[in-house]
Amino acid sequence: MDEKPCIVIHQLTRDFKKTRAVDGLDVSIPSGELFGLVGPDGAGKTTTLRLLAGLLDITEGEAEILGFDLRTQAEAIKPHVGYMAQQFSLYAELSVLENLRFFAELFDVPRADLAQRAARLLDFAGLSDFKERRAAHLSGGMQKKLALACTLVHQPEILLLDEPTTGVDPISRREFWDILTELHIQGVTILVSTPYMDEADRCSRVGLMFAGRLVRCDTPRRIRETLEGEMIEVQAADWQAAHKRIDGLPGVREVQTYGESLHILVDDGQKRLPEIERALQEANIDLRSIRVAPARMEEAFISLIRKMEAG
């Protein structure tokens, strides 16, 4: 794959009235990369994507997209970029096909190609049977897929997708990511923000944003590896009591709750597992299962965010 940088961001900063939403962002994204932007709500992901789509003025710093200066040539970049907003932003009273045609015309898709391309995209998005349906009457997942189809209609070299799967059922989410993976294989550069860690795991590189800053930027595997030590998964009848008992045991670095199971980060899994088991038995806590499990993006992410919040 081509390694020429496609998006180069240097000290990108954006201030709103009272807050600095994006604070000195530095990142370079090569052509063909599937880059995931993760971070808690309010970290500045949406602002970053809007800045790159040319929808907001840059306060400080600069960004170059395909060699165009974002500060002065925002309009020249637009034909090459497909931007998908976080909330549904298509025309509810227009049909699926009318929405698609509308964006095709604004992006100067050649008239001769239009019908064929629309048919292919609707097929791609699984919307062929809903062409005449008004966008307002589509399910949340179908609306997202239509928005993606509208974003793809001019065959952009770069995709900027702002939480494209938020509020979508798991099956639609999987289908959506299958589409993204296919586009990635075709060589489209994709910058996608997501709150889901399993999605971040499918990216070629992940940037973690916190309070407007890009605090980590690496491959998913290496971000998982930053989680020092190992993870023990515990399921107990009274998980709250178990949480209290485990906190502060020797070798325990961090306890995270996932529903009723506890993910315990420890220095040495094989050594600490029997100790934890014994401690819970002594406290008369009914233990359902305990095992050493591989750490996921999610644990690594929460651990990193906790460190950030602690200062």
Binding site: D57, E75, Y83, A85, S89, Y91, R101, L106, C150
Partner: protein, 377 residues
Amino acid sequence: MSVRHIWAVTRKEINHIFRDRSTLILVLFTPTLVLLLMAYALTVEIKHVPLAVLDYDQSQASRTFVRQITAGQDVDLYAYARDMDEITSLLMRGQVKAALVISSGFAADLQSMKGLPVQIIIDGTEPESGNFAVQHIAQSAEQFVNTALAGQLRSAGISAQSLQPLDMRIQTWFNPDLKPRNDIIPGLISMVLGFPALSVALTLAHEREHGTLEQLLATPISRTGLLLGKIIPYIGVGLLNVILIPALAIAWFHISFNGSFALFFGLSAIFLFAVLSMGMVVGVLMRTQAAALALSFLVIFFPGFFMTGIFFPLASMPEEMRLESLSLPGTHYAIITRGIFLPGVGMDVLWPYAVMLAVLGVAFTALAALFFRKKLG
């Protein structure tokens, strides 16, 4: 600016107008409804003004005078008052709008032709009724004196054929019956045809509030292309009203239409371009529909009502306001509408106003494009 982009936006807006019921009602039926209501409200003739009389003379002559005044439908005798206190109380309670005080010696003065000693008091909080009563009483008094004089002359053996001092014959052109409707309705038509400016003012804020603007701004459409694409469909809808509303005025109010309809249609299209561009200036300045609505009332509707010469002649406005009036498309269009409806004039008379409308349209569109930025924040 690409024609294809403009057409894409225009078609989308037309779909929006016809599929969104509230927008359709706003653009198509509000002008008709407002015209009907205002035409009735503004052309009501004054009749039956209640009058109180305080007669200190209590003579045959004074009673005849009062009977003559209250004979028709114009002024009704509400009550004979006993004293000034009663007059005051009747006026204060709004039971009468005018009062007539006849001094003692009325009959004697009439006999000696010294001038009639009467006083008229009117309620200044409702000057239309009061002035109407004054006019009516003055006319009645003149007739009354003339009749009395003629009687005296006749008894002195003089023929009373040449009593009128002047022989005035007034001719009213263009609106021979001086029906207020013939004058006001063409003015009202020019006003209500500008109503789609409100929808245009709201259209950008509507997209902003529904989130669709975000996706739209991410496309390469030019600013002017986007704004024109949003103005053009409303010119189309406005032209439907240009057919509908004069038809209504002619069929319902029996207004005469003396000019060329083709000319009226063409000049209306230019007017719509101007007034809708003005609405677009409001639209690009305001971020929410509520704010756009408020500013529209402030800069489009109130001036459109008071400063375009529909109700108050331009010549009676202060100098500074007259300049502002000239920047309102409605001012020029009101002249065009009245000109085509009543005297039925053509382009030879109306061309300066048509030129002004075109200039205003281009200026407002340029101004809107200047203020509009393809950014969210």
